[in-house]
């Protein structure tokens, strides 16, 4: 039953994608669409070409490098700080006002600030990714740790576990479902910010956002759409990888 509905879902999904692409293609051929919107065949042949002549690799590479570095920083710092703040009261009290003050700021607005300070560099880009994605990660972790069933902690204390052991062996696993939720939101934001930071204030360079911006200014819609497609695909693949990891690690947690 479970397997059946999953198979069904995959089949309908593939069917829908094919139907959508076909419809798009037909509309393009019959020129119902504005002529500047390329057809799927054009876009996919462009993607094929870019992979064949290797011109896409630097863009994908540099974008992935920024994304992964930014995301890892967020995961590392956000999760560790979140756990400490959740577990040790004074640390939590220290962070609470900071979070409630800085979290509501639309972080994208800080991009020009960083641009002035650090110029059009990777420091700016990774900084804007970090400031955007840090908060959901930190807050989800903090929330997860604070809402752990107190009885887990008491029974651990009762059995003489040290603070460090409790943090590692009880709090981390118990809060992990919440932490994964935070990571997932952070990952999505990482991709949005990667794209945005590459599109704003760049004149030369590499990266998918830059590639899109550049093609856009030359009116090459096929390359723009090819770039969008690759970003979408990467975003999707990374999300799936994260879910895969989640299901591996959290096999005991339902969903």
């Amino acid at each position: 039953m479970q397997n059946n509905s999953k198979k069904w879902f995959v089949l309908t999904s593939i069917g829908e994608i094919l139907f959508f692409l076909l419809l798009w293609q037909v509309l393009s051929i019959t020129s119902w669409f504005p002529t500047y919107v390329s057809s799927p065949v054009e876009i996919f042949s462009r993607i094929g070409e870019m992979f064949a002549d290797g011109s896409i690799y630097p863009h994908v590479g540099i974008s992935l490098y920024r994304t992964i570095l930014g995301f890892l920083l967020v995961v590392l710092i956000g999760t560790v700080l979140g756990m400490l703040a959740g577990f040790f009261k004074p640390i939590g009290n220290f962070f609470d006002p900071l979070i409630s003050f800085f979290n509501p700021i639309p972080k994208i607005a800080l991009l020009p600030v960083f641009l002035v300070w650090f110029g059009v560099t990777d420091v700016t880009r990774i900084l804007i990714i970090f400031t955007s994605a840090f908060f959901p990660c930190f807050i989800a972790t903090l929330d997860g740790v604070r809402n752990i069933n107190k009885l887990y902690l008491w029974s651990a204390e009762n059995m003489g576990a040290s603070k460090f052991k409790m943090l590692w062996r009880i709090i981390l696993p118990a809060a992990l479902p919440k932490i994964f939720d935070g990571w997932r939101v952070a990952l999505a934001l990482t991709f949005v910010m990667m794209f945005s930071s590459e599109m704003i204030g760049t004149s030369t360079g590499h990266g998918l956002g830059f590639m899109i911006l550049n093609a856009d200014s030359y009116g090459r819609v096929d390359i723009v759409l090819a770039g969008v497609f690759i970003i979408a695909l990467l975003g999707f693949i990374f999300d799936r990888l994260l879910i895969l990891l989640r299901n591996r690690v959290l096999w005991w947690s339902e969903r």
Binding site: F9, T12, Y36, V221
Partner: protein
Amino acid sequence: MSSIWQLIKKYQSLILVVVVWQLMALSGLFSEQLFPGIEKIAIVFLELLPTSDLWSNIGITLYRILAGFALAAIVGVPLGIAMSRSRTFDNIMQPIFTFGYPVPRVALYPIFVLIFGIGSGSKIFTIFLECIFPIVVNTYYGAKRVNILYIWSGQNMGADKRKLFWRVFLPGAMPSIFTGFRIALPIGVVIAVLTEMISSSNGIGYLLTYLSASLSQSQVLAVVVYISLIGYALDRLLLYVRNRFVYWS
């Protein structure tokens, strides 16, 4: 006296941030242009306050956010409910939301500029596209999780389908619908500012890039404060509306 001390203790981290900022500004390590003191930012903030330049741009941005958000709500809530109630419809729509959710939809913005032009249309559509996902997903799960016993008890008292929908099902799903709204609205603010920064001739995001070109950090930071206030005010407004509608939880 002790209550003041308590306040200082409570907000020690914020005070620390202010003090460090001011020390860096006063240290002379950076030029005043690049690293203004907080009092400079405050002065620029107040200088901007009476200018029509600021308010017309804020007005345009607000219009875009609210239009995109409202469209997303008007389309998203019925869509989520329909998905939760019809198996076939759910099967058809589910792939779009599963595959579309992790995709940075804002990347399509350049295409929307081609289609809708550089004015408000392209921005509103991008905001709509980003906002509708959390709204649909939260409405869907909320509607799925409406306690079946509420429905049964309504049927038990002889309520027809229409009454069950409007008087049991919809109020039951309302908290989740508002959860979706509260996730979507800040996204709307971010996307509005972002799209205005990428390409626009007006709006608060445009003002921000325009000012940053002059490398005057105090002006940029003052506008950042305004943007934050907009985000904060919109969230408060939504919270107020929510508490009127969902007063029971």
